[in-house]
Each structure stands twice: as C-alpha cells, then as structure tokens.
Symmetry: C2
C-alpha cells in the first residue's frame, strides 16, 4: 500500500512544506494565484495543484474575481491539527517543569 493521499485529510495536506508556506502567506490576507506565484519560487501550475489539494481538504476557500481566483485560509480546518497536538501539551509542559526543577535542584544541592 502506498502512502495515504495528500488530499485525504488536513494532516496529509500540510505535510508538504510548500503547502504550509502557502497557508502562511495566506494568513495575512486573501490573495490571487499570481500573487502567490510571485511570493513563492514555484511555477504557476505547481501552485495551482497545491491550491487544489488545500481546497480539497477545506484548508482554503476560493472565489472568482474577474479573471482572478482569490484564495484565503479557512482557519477552522486547522483546528483538528491543533486539537490533536494539544493532547500532548500536558506532557511537554510536565517535561519542561521537570527539567526546570532538576536545574534548580542542581543549583541548590549541587547533586
């Protein structure tokens, strides 16, 4: 079996670095395809293909404005990723706390 398709879910879609770059760029505001092409060093067809994947999983929304297509982030689609990573938040906070406590202990007792 091959890897799951990039357009199967948001996790797969954002695995591709260029697609994360596009999302980062769209955080600021809605942009046309040509603006995205200019901002990134990548051919227009590649950008369009990445946008198709992002749209396929709902990470961006598009609307036509004359000859242009304007894309914007759909932030809600990122929440599942955020929520999933948050389930580990307690763990890394505990880990940081232990590291800090150990450091303080070392200073005090020179153990």
């Amino acid at each position: 079996m091959a890897r799951s398709a990039a357009n199967s879910d948001a996790f797969n879609a954002v695995a591709e670095p260029r697609r994360r770059e596009i999302l980062n760029y769209l955080v600021m505001q809605e942009r046309s395809v040509s603006e995205i092409v200019e901002a990134m060093e990548l051919e227009q067809p590649s950008i369009s293909k990445h946008l198709k994947v992002l749209k396929g999983v709902g990470l961006v929304a598009a609307r036509r404005d004359g000859r242009q297509m304007l894309y914007k982030v759909n932030p809600m689609a990122i929440r599942p990723l955020h929520d999933w990573t948050s389930t580990f938040e307690r763990l890394w906070k505990d880990q940081l706390l232990r590291i800090k406590q150990r450091a303080e202990g070392n200073n005090a007792t020179k153990e």
Copy 2:
C-alpha cells in the same frame, strides 16, 4: 519530484494515520512493541517500521528492557506542529466570534 520523505520531519511523520494512532496509544504510558502490536491491528514488522520513522524524527524514544524495547512519546517533538497550528488560532477565534455575533444579530433584529 516525489513527496518528501516521511522521516524528513514531524509533519510528514504524523501524516500517516497509523503513526498518529501509535502516538495516541503512547500518550498513556511507555509500551513495548508487542503491546503496540496487540493494541493496533497491524503486523509487527509494520509497527516496527512506523516506530523507526517516529524515532527518526524524534517523536518517540526507545530503551531496551531485556528482550523488549520500550517506546515512549517525546512530547517536545510535537511542539513545532502545535506552534505552527497556533499561528492560525487568532483567525478561527475571530471567525467563531463573527458567527456568534451574526447569530445574535439575527435573533435581535431578525435581519
């Protein structure tokens, strides 16, 4: 060019659903490979391969205990994912707020 390797970074590693399942399972506590195999419906070699990828990007750590290998999550490695998704948090909160305000507006003015 093909897709970037699964062991290139945490984003690619967690794109695979089975690997997320493994991480979810390891949130509770450290586990041996056979425990993971039992918990998931997947052959042992596949589990070992997934664990290798996860270890490769630092998402899990392993230690030997007799014949067993015990794996645990390294939560710090998930922080980059969390941080990246957090950059969109303001956006979806604004979006939720607008939705809420619109709903309230409708109730009040029946617009």
